[in-house]
């Protein structure tokens, strides 16, 4: 297993390189750079700008700049954010953590619902429950996450039970540790709901289809013929096999979740990676853009890796060690 993980990580390196290089290229194509603001500022001397240019190798060709950036990363230096006036590593790592919390909580929330709902829909096939679930999932799939975010915020203004955006209360620092956790938890509810509804609706349908397919297979018929109890057939023989394809999806869901989360973060005001990237793109803060894209890519690769490992646990036919 260790070798497999190592192999996967090594193979994902070119992907990360590709993503970062593309991003670098795109941003450098854009006219102007982050020093333009300084150039327009009469209080900043030309010499200072020269020093900046040399320090960040802006006078060198594009490829050189990219490799300088790469070399610095290997040294553990992720560059400097001009708009936040801080090290990119510090800015991104705190935001990455926030995005990670949000993604994790919506992943958990999603999967708590997906499997039971899928099973219920499959068992009550074409009955009222199934049709109701199918109808609601249609709406859920079609409602864009940003619209759901608006609707939930609107509803929240009437009840006053839930905080309206952000991640912490104003008096956050005064709370005890438990109070802090509860406070963040409360702020998590709306973005988690918004991010989960869509994927619950899609995955629930897929789960239903998988289970129906497995239930129609000959070995289930065989189990029935041998007189195994229905519950045992469902939960031990059918469910396990119906879950396998879902685990692959689990990995891919991470990518969708990350991009969905960015927009919702911006609307709700959750201080995550999406907000930072948007800021960085707007102010052409190049190293910050690179840093957050790198962080997003790393999160993604990690997600896919976790999915593969889980698949190895659930599906005995897959053996990673032998390859």
């Amino acid at each position: 297993m260790g070798r497999f993980i190592l192999k996967r990580l090594v193979f994902s390196l070119p992907l990360l390189l590709g993503i970062t290089f593309l991003t670098f290229l795109f941003i450098q194509i854009a006219p102007g750079d982050f020093l333009d603001k300084l150039r327009l500022n009469p209080q900043v001397s030309q010499e200072a700008i020269k020093i900046y240019e040399q320090k960040f190798h802006l006078d060198k060709p594009l490829m050189v700049q990219y490799f300088v950036w790469l070399r610095n990363i290997l040294k553990g230096d992720f560059g400097y954010s001009f708009s936040f006036k801080a090290k990119v590593f510090d800015v991104v790592s705190s935001r990455l953590f926030n995005t990670f919390i949000l993604s994790l909580s919506s992943l958990i929330f999603t999967w708590i619902f997906v499997i039971p709902l899928g099973v219920i829909a499959a068992l009550k096939r074409n009955k009222f429950t199934d049709r109701f679930l199918s109808f609601t999932s249609y709406l859920g799939i079609s409602a864009p996450s940003f619209f759901l975010a608006f609707i939930f915020l609107y509803l929240a203004t009437f009840t006053g039970w839930l905080p309206l955006g952000g991640m912490r209360s104003i008096r956050f620092e005064e709370f005890s540790l438990l109070g802090k956790i509860i406070d963040i938890g409360k702020h998590l509810i709306i973005p988690t709901l918004v991010l989960s509804i869509g994927s619950i609706c899609v995955l629930q349908r897929i789960m239903r289809a998988n289970l129906l397919e497995v239930l129609g297979s000959p070995y289930i018929l065989g189990a029935k013929a041998r007189g195994l109890p229905k519950i045992r057939i469902l939960y031990i023989h059918a469910l396990k096999n119906a879950l396998n394809p879902m685990i692959t999806i689990f990995g891919y869901q991470f990518s969708a979740l990350l991009s969905g989360a960015a927009l919702v973060e911006i609307i709700i005001g959750w201080p995550g990676l999406g907000v930072v990237t948007l800021e960085a793109v707007r102010s052409q803060d190049i190293y910050l853009v690179m840093g957050s894209v790198l962080a997003g890519g790393a999160l993604l690769i990690l997600g896919n890796l976790v999915a593969d490992i889980l698949l190895g646990f659930f599906d005995p036919r897959i053996r990673y060690d032998k390859t």
Binding site: F26, P144, F146, S255, L263, V293
Partner: protein, 351 residues
């Protein structure tokens, strides 16, 4: 034609089809249905709520649809509170005269579906500048709905060509293009969108932004289509008729165009319809965060951007209505796509 008939024969297909026709129809004839020009602001009606339409006033002996005038007072929170002014009555006239526009861009006219003369009618409320949201939804739909169609068509085209070539030739070409596809698919689309948008100057004209959004969205979208077309092409190229075509000396290009791609068309049709929502949402997302269509031009996404402040949502919930239009459109395209898939590919009917 046969497909169209089958769509209409199914209930969900019929509903989706007619709602979409209605949407596109009203958007194409937007100036006729809209009572005001899209950038017609009126400070006196900033965030005016949807106008109530009355039918009966016994005192003034007024029958048929009419509206009252509107005045406002500023309350203790410095907010405007709109009240109806019963002394002023504006009957709603149909096929009345209004602002001048070019009908379908061909001839000039000033006829509109409805109008209230000197009064102000806001069917779906007004925005910050007192512009009619109903009007702006109609005009915004022109952008949102056309971006979906054009974007999906372009990326389908690229996907067909790339997928067809890569599946047909296989080997190194295939390997290379598929790695690129995977990369494009793996990057979270929102970040890719931001990075792509960043490579262009922020202040472009509306037409440029419109084209740019199409380019960006097609750039993101072609990969998924290309992969599936490639899969189909790989199995199609092993058919006898392809070998026959090769033996008869047909060029590779002609084989792909004539013998491989036509077989993927029914899939492509389903894919294009099911992918349109992604483009509509992509435009909405970009415009929502201020990187897409800019004011005073309207699109469904930038209409929603005024809802970014929580106070605005609470006080003026009608600014969320453009979002409903997005939802309805997306539901309809999904329904239409599913119906199409059922018709063209009965095997996949499980979902």
């Amino acid at each position: 034609m046969r497909i169209l008939k089958e769509i209409i024969n199914k209930k969900s297909g019929r509903i989706a089809f007619f709602v979409l026709i209605l949407l596109y129809f009203s958007v194409i004839f937007a100036p006729f249905f809209a009572p005001y020009p899209y950038d017609d602001d009126d400070v006196l009606h900033s965030y005016a709520p949807p106008t109530k339409i009355h039918f009966l006033n016994l005192k003034e002996k007024q029958f048929g649809p009419f509206i009252y005038g509107q005045t406002y007072e500023v309350n203790e929170y410095y907010q405007r509170v709109y009240q109806k002014d019963e002394s002023k009555i504006y009957p709603i006239k149909f096929f009345t005269k209004g602002f001048k526009y070019k009908f379908l861009g061909l001839w000039e006219t000033d006829r509109h579906l409805f109008g209230v003369g000197k009064g102000k009618i806001y069917l779906l409320g007004a925005d910050l500048k007192g512009r009619d949201i109903f009007t702006r939804i109609l005009y915004g739909g022109r952008i949102s709905l056309s971006i979906g169609l054009i974007g999906a068509a372009i990326s389908l085209f690229i996907g067909l060509i790339v997928g067809g070539l890569s599946g047909y030739f296989g080997g190194r070409v295939d390997n290379f293009t598929m790695r690129i596809c995977e990369m494009v698919m793996m990057i979270p689309s929102f970040y890719l969108m931001l990075a792509l948008r960043a490579s262009f100057p922020p202040n472009l004209s509306s037409t440029q932004v419109y084209l740019l959004i199409i380019v960006i969205l097609s750039f993101i979208g072609w990969a998924a289509t290309a992969r599936i077309i490639r899969g189909m092409a790989i199995s199609l190229r092993e058919n006898e008729y392809v070998y026959a075509a090769k033996a008869m000396g047909l060029s590779h290009f002609k084989i792909i165009i004539r013998h491989i791609l036509p077989h993927t068309l029914s899939y492509a049709l389903v894919a294009i319809v099911l992918r349109i929502p992604a483009y509509i949402l992509g435009e909405a997302g970009l415009s929502l965060i201020g990187l897409g269509i800019q004011e005073p031009e309207a699109s469904w996404g930038n209409l929603l951007s005024s809802a970014m402040g929580i106070v605005n949502i609470r006080l003026f919930p009608w600014i969320l209505i453009p979002g409903l239009f997005i939802v309805v459109t997306v539901v309809c395209f999904n329904m239409l796509g599913d119906t199409l898939r059922d018709i063209l590919d009965p095997k996949r009917r499980i979902l």
